[in-house]
């Protein structure tokens, strides 16, 4: 009897997938973490002790995107209550966080001179920037085969931000669909100017894509900078060899291995390998072996003692970097006044929550299992019914 009842409950508590103002209202009403969110962005200035800058929180800009693409800029709030009420009332489809500015965002004086005073160091990595190296998906899609590219981006950047730059307060968040965002919140990070932000972004930049360049990764010099070397030996090499080769079948077809051969600056070697593999088309090796085998052959050829030419010295690493190294959106990081989507928003297209990702466990993160708005509401319903039934209704 009870069992039957439960089934009935499940049937009635499930909420159809969707994204709309009604759903959001409930989400903002019951689930969005207003308190923690506001506290984070106050950086202690919401306290009572004399060191607090009372005006700080009110000078932070937010922007809301409402239903029907109505865009509201220069939203600011002097207290968590004010923020919470505004969000609940307006039900924004998207919330962006901007920098705290010199003047109150609502400055009425007419000169809307909006000068950022400080700003978190932010990064935005989008998997659609990797479309030329993933065959399983393209554009906005993401699956378990290509998502790991994001995982290693997190690993590499997180390690460097901590070890090289000495930052500690780093928040990683799922962007809701196809990427990750990074918020570096140390006060030292917030005080960086545009030039310094650009320098950090350039430090991280390896991939220089352009239509005219065939080869987008160029690692000159007899050895790699310690940061790149560490990234390669700790993360990229095994990811490429153990996971990506196979999951993306990088050598399985002529079209695919041609792309890799195009990265080899020596035409003779490239054609030698090409001819060798073309000949093997009808061999009985299983798909698995093909990728690993061909990669080994390529490595052996390039790294053999015969190859003295300068351009070839780092070719193997260049190939690995081309396929795996993080590709940042430089513009996002370079400018203090760039707005970025807030964590805990819901992505309109997928309904998924922009949840934080723990960099120490990022291997376990699976974007396809991130809770959606409708799932959460379903759970709320079930919870409500459950507690109702407990109360004897």
């Amino acid at each position: 009897m009870e069992i039957d009842g439960q089934h009935q409950q499940e049937a009635t508590t499930a909420v159809p997938h969707g994204f709309n103002a009604d759903y959001l209202r409930i989400y903002y009403g019951k689930l969005f973490p207003h308190g923690d969110f506001f506290k984070w962005l106050s950086y202690g200035n919401d306290g009572k002790h004399p060191g607090c800058d009372q005006s700080f929180v009110g000078r932070r800009e937010f922007s809301f995107t409402l239903e029907n693409d109505i865009y509201l800029r220069f939203q600011s709030f002097d207290s968590v209550a004010e923020m919470e009420n505004s969000i609940k009332e307006k039900c924004p489809f998207k919330i962006d966080i901007g920098p705290p500015a010199k003047r109150h965002a609502y400055a009425q004086s007419g000169n809307n001179v909006f000068v950022p005073v400080e700003r978190e160091l932010i990064f935005d990595i989008d998997i659609s920037d990797y479309d030329d190296v993933r065959y399983c998906c393209s554009g906005a899609d993401v699956c378990k085969d290509c998502w790991p590219l994001m995982t290693i981006a997190i690993k590499i950047l997180d390690a460097s931000l901590r070890d090289d730059f000495g930052f500690n307060h780093i928040l990683w968040a799922y962007s809701g669909r196809r990427g990750v965002h990074c918020w570096v919140c140390d006060s030292r990070a917030r005080k960086l100017n545009n030039e310094q932000r650009a320098a950090i972004a350039d430090y991280f930049r390896v991939y220089k894509g352009g239509e005219n360049t065939m080869k987008k990764v160029s690692l000159t010099g007899p050895v790699l900078h310690p940061f790149l070397a560490r990234s390669y030996t700790d993360v990229l090499k095994c990811f490429f060899e153990d996971k990506l080769l196979l999951s993306q079948q990088l050598f399985a077809s002529e079209e695919r291995y041609r792309k890799i051969l195009d990265l080899i600056p020596d035409e003779n070697i490239a054609s030698e390998l090409h001819d060798k593999w073309q000949g093997n088309r009808r061999s009985s090796i299983s798909k698995e072996d093909v990728n690993a085998t061909r990669w080994e052959q390529l490595k052996t050829t390039l790294q053999s003692g015969k190859q003295k030419a300068q351009g070839l010295r780092r070719c193997v690493e260049e190939i690995v970097f081309s396929y795996t190294y993080p590709r940042l959106d430089m513009e996002v990081s370079k400018h203090m006044n760039h707005l970025l989507k807030a964590p805990f928003c819901i992505h309109p297209k997928t309904g998924r929550v922009c949840v934080p990702i723990d960099p120490n466990n990022c291997d376990d993160f699976d974007p396809t299992t991130v809770p959606t708005l409708s799932q959460l509401l379903g759970e709320l319903n079930a919870d409500g019914l459950h507690s109702n039934s407990e109360n004897g209704k």
């Binding site: 070890d163 090289d164 730059f165 000495g166 930052f167 030292r188 960086l192 030039e195 310094q196 650009a198 320098a199 950090i200 350039d202 430090y203 239509e211 005219n212 000159t220 010099g221 007899p222 050895v223 790699l224 900078h225 310690p226 940061f227 790149l228 070397a229």
Partner: protein, 447 residues
């Protein structure tokens, strides 16, 4: 007396500020921050400036010949000794400061002059800094607000391997410099951006040679601002006030020289830098003209173009030194001279058989050029083959080919008879008389 006074006023005005000492230490390297309160005779006004100009000219020449840093250091030392150094170090300092400020007047007056002066003075400063003692260098660093403390020995030993790795990664020798500074990474954004420093826990480990760059950048910035101010003062008051005395001297000095010096003795079978542009107009085949044009326009050519055009020039008799100067003059405008030296100079020397397996490469034959397949962004290959009809017509028009000869050529192109076209073109613009040129330009023409 009057002259002396005037100069002081001018110098003071020129510095855009008050008096004070010349911003130098006795026997040290002045930073020219403030105009000196010094007495100088009118003849010295001119002579000091001319001597310094000789130094700057020598530097310009050395740079355009692609001299390596060690060679430049030596050159600067020699030039300074020959033209500026006096028995009494105080007199040398005197001359140093005065000549600098006089040349500011001379070179502040147009954008081009300022650019040249800034570039040469900065280079002079850079190499003089390198020649100073460690003690003197540290004092200068403080003056430029770079009060870095040298890394203590123990800490140095702990990170030595990493420092060596960074040095090798940017193409330097594995032997690490002995003096390093630990600075917050925020202070050296350029070095961070180009991964030229080791970073750890928010600190950058900066080598002495890199500190030189920082100092020089500051120096350059200061002089740049000063030149603009000087120009304003010049235009506002000085030029008019001194129109009977100093102004003519200043103007004469600036006409005496500026720009890179390409003068070379002319030889029957050689061409020099100066000749290139002119020869391009009269005797170059279309492909080479096109590449020269693109090179001048973009300050860059991709590999295919560098090979085809570079070897052509070599075959025409352009010497290695001149070739280096030529490519450097263009490329450094786009990628900077450091990058040119590192990434492009090698292959130019290689083409002349001075590196690697030392093959003295010959220029490409028409056949080879015609069969090339230029890609996006390339400008080599044979334009008769690869240019669209409109573009080809336009290019030939520009050369002065029109009417019946033009139609004849377009006809041949349609039928893919690419050979011989260059001869036809040159004949039609009446330059077949320059057949000698054609010969010594050494491109093979299939008949």
């Amino acid at each position: 007396m009057e002259i002396v006074r005037s100069h002081r006023q001018i110098a003071a005005a020129a510095a855009g500020g008050g008096g004070g000492d010349g911003g130098g230490r006795a026997g040290g390297l002045p930073t020219y921050r403030l105009a000196p309160q010094l007495e100088v005779r009118l003849e010295e006004f001119e002579l000091f400036a001319i001597d310094r100009l000789g130094v700057l000219k020598g530097i310009a020449d050395g740079l355009s010949r692609g001299k390596r840093p060690e060679e430049m250091e030596k050159l600067v030392n020699e030039l300074w000794k020959a033209r500026m150094r006096r028995q009494d170090p105080a007199e040398t300092l005197n001359k140093d400061i005065i000549s600098h400020f006089v040349l500011r007047l001379v070179y502040c007056r147009t954008e081009e002059l300022r650019k040249w002066f800034l570039s040469m003075e900065t280079t002079l400063f850079r190499y003089r800094f390198r020649l100073e003692s460690h003690e003197s260098q540290r004092m200068l660093m403080s003056e430029f607000q770079l009060p870095y403390k040298a890394l203590p020995h123990l800490e140095f030993e702990a990170v030595k391997d990493k420092l060596s790795q960074v040095a090798r990664s940017i193409g330097q020798s594995a032997t690490v410099e002995s003096v390093f500074f630990k600075v917050p990474f925020e202070e050296v954004p350029d070095l961070v951006a180009s991964r030229r420093v080791f970073l750890s826990k928010g600190y950058a480990y900066v080598a002495m040679s890199q500190v030189v760059s920082l100092v020089v950048t500051q120096f350059r910035c200061n002089i740049s601002k000063a030149l603009v101010l000087t120009n304003r003062k010049w235009m506002a008051t000085i030029k008019e006030e001194e129109k009977d005395r100093l102004t003519p001297i200043v103007e004469a000095l600036s006409n005496a020289y500026f720009g890179p010096d390409y003068s070379q003795p002319k030889d029957a079978v050689e061409i020099s830098l100066k000749d290139i542009d002119q020869l391009a107009r009269t005797s170059f085949p279309l492909c080479m003209r096109h590449m020269l044009e693109k090179l001048r326009e973009n300050h860059h050519l991709k590999h295919g173009g560098r090979m085809q055009f570079g070897l052509f020039l070599k075959g025409a008799g352009l010497k290695l030194e001149d070739a280096l100067a030529f490519w450097r003059a263009e490329f450094s405008q786009k990628v900077g001279s450091e990058r040119f030296d590192k990434e492009y100079a090698y292959s130019i020397r290689h083409n002349y058989g001075k590196e690697g397996k030392r093959t003295d490469y010959t220029p490409y034959s028409c056949q080879k050029i015609i069969s090339a397949t230029p890609g996006v962004g390339d400008h080599h290959g044979c334009p008769y083959r690869h240019f669209g009809e409109e573009n080809l017509r336009a290019a030939l028009n520009k050369m002065g080919v029109s009417g019946h000869p033009l139609e004849e050529i377009m006809d041949k192109v349609k039928n893919r008879h690419y050979q011989v076209l260059n001869l036809t073109v040159l004949a039609s613009i009446g330059n077949l008389l320059n057949f000698d040129h054609l010969n010594h330009l050494k491109y093979e023409i299939h008949s």
